[in-house]
Amino acid sequence: MVWPEAISAAFTAANIAREIASGSNFIRKHVSRLHYLIRHGSAKIPIFGAGGVGKSTTGRILTSDRPIDDTTPYDESWLIEGMRLAGDIPGLLIVAPGQQSRVERHWPDLLRQVETGDCFGLINVVSYGYHSFMVPSFKEHDQYEESQSVADFVRLYTEARRDLEIELLKRTVIGIANLREPIWFVTVVCKQDLWWDRRDVVKAHYASGEYSRIISDIETRLGTSSFQHEFIPVSLRIENWTTESGEELAQTVAGYDQIKHLSHLNTLFIKLDELLSQGSPS
C-alpha cells in the first residue's frame, strides 16, 4: 500500500523552501487546478470519517482559494454538508456528519449514492484517534476517571477513537461492497502535527494493521482494476489539541515545521488533482 512521504530525496527541504519562498506557486498551481475540477467537472466526492477527525476542514481546505489560512475552530456538523464555491453548480464535496447518532441517519443514503455510481471516488478521514470534541473539559468526558492525568486520558481516548475509526471504515466498506463501477478510495490521515514523532507507529497502524486488512479485503472483492486506494498523511493546519475550556491535550510535535506542513498539504492537492483528473480508476 502506498504511503507517500513528501520529504524524499527528490524533494529536499531546500527545494521546497525555495518553492514556498517564491510565493507558494508550487501549492497555488495545484490548488487552482483542483478548484477548477471541483467547480467545472462532475466530481462528487463524499467524505466519511468519525466526528472530530477533520472532515469539514478537509472539505473547506479543498474548496477554499486560501487553503493555508483556515483557522475555523472545531464545530460539529449536524447535517450533510455540500461544499462548493459560491455561485458554482457542478462538482461537490459531500461531508457526512460523523457523530454516531448521525451516522445511522445520514450514511446509508450517501453510501447508496456511491453504490449507484454517482461518485467515482470517496475520501475517508482518520487522525490516529486525535478526534476533536466540544465537551468543555476532558474531565466531563466519559473516558475520564477520577485523578487521571491528561496523558492517560489522551492515551485511553485515542485508543477508543482508533477503534471507532476501524468500525466506521467497516461500515463504509460494507456500503460499497456491491459496487459495480470502479472507484478510488483515499484515506487522509490528518493531524500529522500531533503524531509526527511517532509517524512509523502511525504508518504501521494504518498501512499494515487492521485498517489495511479491511482495505485489502475490499480490494480483493472488487478487484484491483476497480478499486484503487491511497494514503495521504497530512496536517490541515498546525495547532495544539485543546478542549473548549483551553486545556491542552496534546501539543504539536517539535520538528514539524511549516515546510513539512506545506509539502504534505501539497501532496494532498497533487494526489487529489491526479485522481480527479483521472475520474474513475478504469
Partner: protein, 176 residues
C-alpha cells in the same frame, strides 16, 4: 449550567433537555405562525386579485358596450372598485414584506440558539453519555430540535447553513 472552579460549565442533562424543549417549541411556534400567515395572506390576495380581474373585465365590457365612452356611471364605479382592489393588493404585498422580516428576525435568533444547543447536546450525547440517565429521551429531544430546524429552513426558505464562524449563514455549506 453552573461554572465550577475551572470556569467551564458543568453539564446538566436535565437543564439541557429543558432548554432544548423550550427553544424547539418556540421555533416551532414561529414556523407555525409564519405558515398560517402565509396561507391566510395567499388566500386574501387570491380573492382580491380575482375581484380585481373581474372588475377590470367588467369595466372593459361596459366601456365597449357603451360605444367606447368613458362617462358612464357603471364604468366609473367599476374603475374605482378596480383601483381599490389594486391598492389593497399593493398594501398586502408591502405588509407581506415587513411581517416576513419580523418573523425572520425572531426565527433566525431562536434557530441560531437552538442550533448551538443541538450541537452541544449531541456532543454530550456522544462523549459524556454516562451522565445522561434517559439517553432515549435525550436523543428524542435532539431529533425533535433538528426536525424543527429543518422546518425553519424550509418555511423561511433559508439555505440550511451552519453557524460556525460566529455568523449564522456565513458558512458556505449547503445540503448535499
Amino acid at each position: 449550567m453552573n461554572n465550577n472552579e475551572y470556569n467551564y460549565p458543568v453539564f446538566d442533562p436535565l437543564r439541557m433537555l429543558d432548554l432544548l424543549t423550550e427553544y424547539t417549541s418556540r421555533l416551532q411556534q414561529i414556523c407555525d405562525a409564519k405558515s398560517r400567515t402565509d396561507i391566510r395572506r395567499f388566500q386574501i390576495i387570491w380573492v382580491i386579485g380575482l375581484v380585481g380581474v373581474f372588475t377590470f373585465v367588467f369595466a372593459i365590457a361596459s366601456f365597449l358596450d357603451q360605444q367606447m365612452t368613458f362617462n358612464s356611471l357603471t364604468f366609473n364605479f367599476t374603475l374605482a372598485a378596480g383601483a381599490v382592489a389594486l391598492f389593497t393588493c399593493l398594501m398586502l404585498i408591502r405588509y407581506n414584506y415587513s411581517s416576513r422580516f419580523h418573523y425572520l428576525f425572531d426565527a433566525s435568533r431562536v434557530a441560531s440558539a437552538l442550533l448551538r444547543l443541538v450541537k452541544l447536546s449531541s456532543q454530550y450525547g456522544e462523549h459524556s453519555h454516562k451522565r445522561i440517565s434517559d439517553l432515549f429521551e435525550y436523543e428524542l429531544r435532539i431529533a425533535e430540535a433538528e426536525a424543527s430546524l429543518e422546518l425553519y429552513f424550509r418555511v423561511f426558505k433559508r439555505e440550511p447553513v451552519d453557524n460556525r464562524n460566529d455568523g449564522f449563514g456565513k458558512h458556505p455549506s449547503t445540503f448535499g
